[in-house]
Amino acid sequence: MAEKKCCCCELNSEKLKRLDQIIEEHKTMEGALIPVLHEAQELFGYLPEQVQQKIATGLGCSLAEVFGVATFYSRFTLEPKGKYNIQVCLGTACYVKGADKVLEKLEQLLGIKAGQTTEDGKFSIQDTRCVGACGLAPVMVINDEVYGKMTPDMVEGILAKYN
């Protein structure tokens, strides 16, 4: 997997040092992997191979196991998020109201799939479970901005605001 870098998540040595600390703090605790992955993701914005390798070595588990956990939970991402992270809720209410069509339109307009980031690092798409705004279904969230009662036709106009 090619590593993409953006301004906010370069693997600088300071962050790597902080990762060592995080690992050290959790080392002796049972089930340390998930909390460490959470903190690492917070720190770097995503979980690149170098970070996962460090965690595996530090916690004494295999890289394959770390990768397995990191790919199991949708909260973890292996790619850096874009400047604008677009979450499309695929919870039950949103889904039955056509969130999949909204997602499809987004993917088509940005030329990336859910879980990916555009080449320029500007946009990333994430499909999420229920965001707790079912009354507004289907819902799309860009960073902290919530867009409710979405239709595929609305997508282009909304994206234009961020371009």
């Binding site: 295999s62 890289l63 394959a64 196991e65 770390v66 990768f67 199991f72």
Partner: protein, 575 residues
């Protein structure tokens, strides 16, 4: 341990209270079907094939992980249960590539056997599995479109071998077994031991075959094609032809190889005798100098790669002596070539091994001191059996034949190389005689035989105490090596074999799962075959092998000489 009374299909039985329903049912002569379950290794109730009805429990339960308790009432064969199992199996089959006829596991597949037993009809569901073949490893081919996600391979790789090259990644329909970051096994920390292949119920993990390359070489008139066979092969090859276990099939194997068209049929055991001469000399030197102790054996290529990945600080402790296979290859392309006036570039050396990791060893660039690779192709016991069958040779009827003289003579010490403890015993037989400078009669070292995970002994050799340890299975090796690294133990000599039980249980050996399920002690039977052969041989110590003596006199000068080092020793790389 207490007892509980339970009822299974109306049969009252008294069972030990630490059993599962699956285990207890055996006492009532009921064989509940299983797929993901593997005794002592994988008991996760994932596949839902072993469903049973437990009175009072909600829904059907997985027998492999349901514990017995006093008064438990179980049904295993109602229509509902059988329908549920069949539906589960059909769902598994729906996502399984069903090209059985061209699958290397055809007729030897646990999923196929289950489908037959349960009478599945046409699979009406259509799965989403896509072809995704990883054949970049030297030893193992992964085909996830056949994977049933039983996780046996993960359990063996992660828990038994502590390698962790593969694991389950992603979730739901996207779940798959993969090395980290979807890399190839060949790019991962896989050590090629093939224990995953040995437990895979289907054809998702298979040995990378070299059968065609070997047939091509045999049929190439210009090539002088020589075959050598490892000790563990003769202890298991007969299983593929329905011959009784516990007896080596050396003579029949030699006869078959000759009929297949090999120009010369030699014994890797001869190589093992050279390994003992070189490694024994190395041990005596290190014992005298006190440097780089403990000496750790390096014949097991799975272990060597594991050490290169995980214990780089112990690389100086590894014996620099090549494995018997590679030593023999180097001698074939130097001494043998010269003596018989054959151009070494025209010699093609095939090694028949119980081991998938030997295929990786074969590719190591450093193993080519003659200017040619020590070994040209490695095939496993399983591949040899297939080739014999392809040839139409009626193996079970063959008269015993002998290895080709004079290069095929080997000692009993070399034969037991194939089982955990054997290399140590062989080395001690020679080292003791050399150091004490007299013939020793007691040559069977019971301390290093048997099933224990770590075997140790304290010997007195020429007035000196020597502490030795023998370990097999990389999880056990890891524990021991951590102690060595941290200076918590003071052994002088350690034998390590990557596969639990040693080479006889290698990843290239005939399949053991079905036999073990039927109650056969596969490891014990194969071990017996080797120890019996050791007893029968005229020479039981490596240094007594007359041809070993001859080659040293004529060519190598003496063990540990400069020439011997050039040809018969190697080095290792931190990974």
């Amino acid at each position: 341990m207490g007892k509980v009374n339970i009822t299974i299909d109306g049969v009252n039985i008294e069972a030990e209270d630490n059993l599962t329903v699956l285990e207890a049912a055996k006492q009532a002569n009921i064989d509940i079907p299983t797929l993901c379950y593997l005794k002592k290794i994988n008991k996760i109730g994932a596949c839902r094939i072993c469903l049973v009805e437990v009175k009072g429990a909600r829904g059907l339960q997985a027998a492999c992980s349901y514990p017995v308790s006093e008064g438990l009432v179980v049904r295993t064969n109602t229509k509902e249960i059988m329908d549920a199992r069949r539906s589960t199996l059909e769902l598994i089959l729906s996502n399984h590539k069903k090209n059985c006829l061209s699958c290397s596991r055809n007729t030897d597949c646990e999923l196929q056997a289950l489908a037959d037993r349960m009478g599945v009809g046409d699979v009406v569901y259509e799965g989403t599995a896509e072809d995704e073949i990883d054949d970049l490893s030297t030893s193992i081919v992964r085909d996830n479109s056949k994977c049933v996600l039983c996780r046996r391979c993960v359990a063996v790789c992660k828990n038994v071998q502590t390698v962790g090259a593969i694991d389950v990644a992603y979730r739901g329909m996207n779940s798959k077994i993969t090395p980290a970051f979807n890399k190839s096994l060949g790019e991962s920390n896989c050590i090629n031991c093939g224990q995953c292949v040995a437990v895979c119920p289907v054809g998702a993990l298979t040995i990378k075959y070299n059968i065609d390359r070997v047939w091509d070489a045999i049929n190439n008139e210009e090539m002088h094609v020589v075959v050598q066979t490892a000790p563990a092969v003769r202890a298991a090859l007969g299983e593929e032809f329905g011959l009784p276990m516990g007896e080596a099939v050396t003579g029949k194997m030699v006869a078959a190889l000759r009929r297949m068209g090999f120009d010369k049929v030699f014994d890797t055991n001869t190589g093992a005798d050279f390994t003992i001469m070189e490694e024994g000399t190395e041990f005596i030197e290190r014992l005298k100098s006190g440097k780089n102790l403990p000496l750790i054996t390096s014949c097991s290529p799975g272990w060597v790669k594991f050490a290169e990945h995980n214990f780089p600080e112990l690389i100086p402790n590894l014996s620099s002596a090549k494995s018997p296979m590679s030593m023999y290859g180097a001698l074939l392309k130097s001494y043998y070539a010269k003596k018989n006036n054959i151009d070494p570039s025209k010699i093609f050396v095939v090694a028949v091994m119980p081991c998938t990791a030997k295929k990786f060893e074969c590719e190591r660039p450093e193993l080519s001191a003659t200017g040619y690779p020590d070994i040209d192709a490695v095939i496993t016991t399983v591949e040899l059996a297939k080739m014999i069958k392809q040839s139409g040779i009626m193996f079970e009827n063959l008269e015993d034949e002998m290895f080709d003289e004079p290069f095929g003579e080997a000692s009993g010490a070399a034969t037991i190389f194939g089982t955990s403890g054997g290399v140590m015993e062989a080395a001690i037989r020679t080292v003791t005689e050399v150091l004490e400078n007299k013939s020793i009669d007691k040559i069977e070292y019971e301390e290093v035989r048997g099933n224990e995970t770590i075997k140790e002994a304290e010997l007195s050799i020429a007035g000196q105490k020597v502490k030795i340890a023998v370990v097999s299975g990389l999880g056990n090796a890891r524990k021991l090596m951590e102690l060595v690294r941290d200076g918590k133990v003071d052994y002088q000599f350690i034998e390590v074999m990557a596969c639990p039980g040693g080479c006889i249980m290698g990843g290239g050996q005939p399949r053991k799962i079905v036999k073990e399920k039927a109650g056969i002690d596969v490891r014990g039977e194969r071990r017996k075959a080797l120890y019996n052969e050791d007893k029968r041989l005229p020479h039981r110590k490596s240094h007594q092998n007359p041809y070993v003596k001859q080659v040293y006199e004529e060519y190598l000068e003496k063990p540990g000489s400069e020439k011997a080092h050039h040809l018969l020793h190697t080095h290792y790389t931190e990974r």
